[in-house]
């Protein structure tokens, strides 16, 4: 089927429309962060205004952005690495040595994601308090790894499933043991998949707010807590809130944009032979 120029134009316009709709809140936040407080709440909203860095300066003066950012980086990377450390062996065993319980286990893991996190907030909070893990990076790393584990295992399972079993069997016949099989065969063959799983985990960890707000206060607080600290106590100062939010989402946005290619390649890995 060939599309006409008109059809292509409609699709293009629709595409841009949807993209704009999705991107608009972020764009507006970005614009607002360069307004003065008065201009930020003006009715009707101002599209043309005199840009100022006043909000950024004030945000910077009141909170140490870098400390929050460092926490975000550490807990996102830590949570992702810890999650992968458990998910890769789990997915390997499920994909290549399945038992009759494998399907059930996978579904059960996914079902835990259907439970609202707030449902286990009290027990987790009490556990963290008892273990002295409140407001520690280690605590957040552990909870992030646990939180993403079902998704990581599922994704890796589907990637591993794409690898023909015979290739690993040939490896075993060639004298490779489990370690060699993983390092020389499975890893190079599924690297795009593992990478995109890791990227997704990084993004999910970075954007996570519920646990970071409830389990940290100052020492281990990541950027989500940084944003939140500008929303409640002083009332609504939109320009400052926008500046803080822009600073918080900018790194992951740039990172996501740079790794988009890899992410898409990984997510469609094996779909087209």
């Amino acid at each position: 089927m060939r599309e006409t120029a008109a059809q292509r134009a409609v699709v293009t316009i629709l595409g841009w429309g949807v993209a704009l709709l999705l991107f608009f809140p972020i764009l507006w936040m970005f614009l607002t962060s360069f307004k003065a407080e008065v201009a930020a709440v003006a009715v009707p909203p101002q599209v043309l205004f005199e840009p100022t860095l006043e909000s950024y300066a004030e945000v910077q003066a009141r909170a140490e952005y870098l400390r929050f950012a460092l926490n975000s980086i550490v807990v996102s990377l830590g949570g992702t690495l810890l999650g992968l450390a458990f998910a890769v062996p789990a997915a390997y065993s499920m994909a290549f040595h399945p038992t009759e319980r494998t399907r059930g286990t996978l579904l059960w893991m996914l079902s835990t994601k259907m439970l609202p996190p707030v449902g286990v907030l009290v027990p987790i909070y009490l556990l963290f308090r008892t273990l002295g893990a409140l407001d520690t990076r280690t605590g957040l790393v552990v909870i992030y790894a646990l939180m993403n584990l079902p998704i990581l295992v599922w994704m890796l399972f589907t990637f591993f499933k794409e690898v023909p079993k015979e290739i690993l069997e040939a490896g075993r016949m060639d004298g490779a043991r489990t370690g060699g099989e993983f390092w020389h065969l499975l890893l190079p063959l599924t690297l795009p998949g593992i990478a995109s799983t890791g990227l997704l985990s990084l993004i999910l960890c970075w954007n996570e707010a519920f646990w970071s707000l409830n389990l940290t206060s100052s020492e281990a607080a990541p950027l989500t807590a940084f944003i939140a600290s500008f929303s409640s106590p002083q009332g609504l100062f939109f320009a400052k809130l926008s500046a803080a939010s822009t600073m918080a989402v900018a790194p992951i946005l740039v990172f996501g944009w740079l790794s988009q290619r890899q992410l898409v390649r990984g997510l469609t890995f094996g779909a087209v032979k």
């Binding site: 015979e166 290739i167 069997e169 040939a170 075993r172 016949m173 060639d174 043991r177 020389h184 065969l185």
Partner: protein, 368 residues
């Protein structure tokens, strides 16, 4: 030097028994072919020998040493897979050298062995290519090369030619025979193609539903099938199998009637093998039938297949049964023509009601 011994080997998947107790001896340098219809357990049996499937019960020994509990990496065998299972991210050189690399063989020696295997298989110019840049036949060669460089005790082949086109398959068949001669190695080969089995094997093992139906040389299986299954499976076109009744049994042989009072076919037989009135199955190879004006069988030619060197007549017999007749050369017989057929009694097979072959009075000279 490598022998394989299987003693009452069994395999169960859950409650299903796929391999039901197999005893087999593979001698040193023997080319053994497992053949059977799909689902007969031949690939499972090969994978059990390889160590890729656990052995549920019984014993497997390589060179007299029990290896049931030994992993595939330590059995010293090499396997060529149906799908080739080449490592897609490695070059041909790396693919062939992988086993040596795993074994910690120094690079120089590795390269030498890979080069030697590449020379045997005429792959020298492809060493730096990846599998996806190769044709099916070349991939097949790489898979064989990967097995050769290891210098294994036993080569295992799991339907290695089934993904190739007919011409290439014929060519590879010849090369495999040559390879077996050159390498002087023990080989176990799985196929569902009885032509491959006949042409390659020193010894054929016919499997059905997890059991061995018969073990023997290709000509032994062809001329002296032990039962109806082997008779129908080995040989192309298939043996004609016709229900018959023993009309008369004496020292010289059996007189068989295809229908009561109908024409008789006399088959030489050992005395006392069957009694008059007994129901049997008469097996006649297509080449043991020929058109003859005074033949006891009567029917109409339904279809003529002319292969040039051979002519196949598909004949519907008067009793309703169909038979295939194979004639040397180009025969003038045309479709829808009535025809009388005679059978070479000495080349006929008789099977009892249980499907077992009645013993033939004489062995075929080549069927050792």
């Amino acid at each position: 030097m490598a022998t394989l011994t299987l003693r009452n080997v069994r395999k169960s998947f859950g409650g299903f028994e796929a391999i039901k107790g197999i005893d087999l001896d593979v001698a040193d340098r023997e080319f053994v072919v497992f053949v059977g219809p799909s689902g007969c357990g031949k690939s499972t049996l090969l994978r059990m020998i390889a160590g890729l499937e656990e052995i549920t019960d019984g014993e497997l020994a390589i060179d007299g040493k029990r290896v049931n509990e030994t992993g595939p990496a330590d059995r010293g065998l090499a396997m060529v897979f149906q799908s080739y299972a080449l490592y897609p991210h490695m070059t041909v050189r790396q693919n062939m050298g992988f086993a040596l690399r795993m074994a910690g063989v120094p690079r120089a020696e590795r390269d030498r062995k890979v080069a030697e295997a590449a020379r045997i298989l005429q792959l020298e110019t492809y060493l730096d290519r990846r599998p996806k840049e190769l044709s099916g036949g070349q991939r097949q060669r790489v898979a064989i090369g990967r097995a050769i460089v290891r210098n294994p005790k036993v080569f295992l082949f799991d339907e290695p030619l089934s993904n190739l086109d007919a011409a290439l398959r014929g060519q590879m068949r010849v090369e495999l025979t040559k390879l077996h001669e050159d390498l002087n190695a023990t080989m176990v080969y799985v196929t569902h193609d009885q032509v491959e089995a006949m042409t390659l094997a020193d010894k054929i093992v016919v499997l059905q539903a997890g059991r061995v139906e018969q073990v023997g040389s290709p000509l032994e299986l062809y001329h002296h099938p032990a039962n109806l299954f082997v008779a129908g499976f080995i040989g192309s076109p298939r043996m004609n199998l016709l229900p018959a009744t023993v009309a008369e049994a004496n020292g010289a042989g059996l007189a068989l009637e295809l229908e009561p009072g109908g024409p008789r076919i006399t088959v030489p037989s050992q005395g006392g093998a069957a009694a008059a009135g007994q129901q049997v199955t008469l097996g006649i190879r297509p080449e043991a039938l020929r058109p003859a004006a005074d033949g006891p069988l009567y029917g109409e030619v339904r279809l003529v297949e002319r292969l040039g060197g051979l002519t196949l007549l598909h004949v519907a017999l008067a009793g309703g049964k169909a038979v295939v007749v194979q004639i040397e050369g180009s025969d003038p017989t045309r479709a829808h023509q009535p025809v009388r057929l005679a059978a070479d009694g000495a080349a006929c097979h008789v099977f009892d009601a249980g499907g077992r072959a009645l013993p033939a009075p004489e062995r075929h000279p080549l069927a050792a």
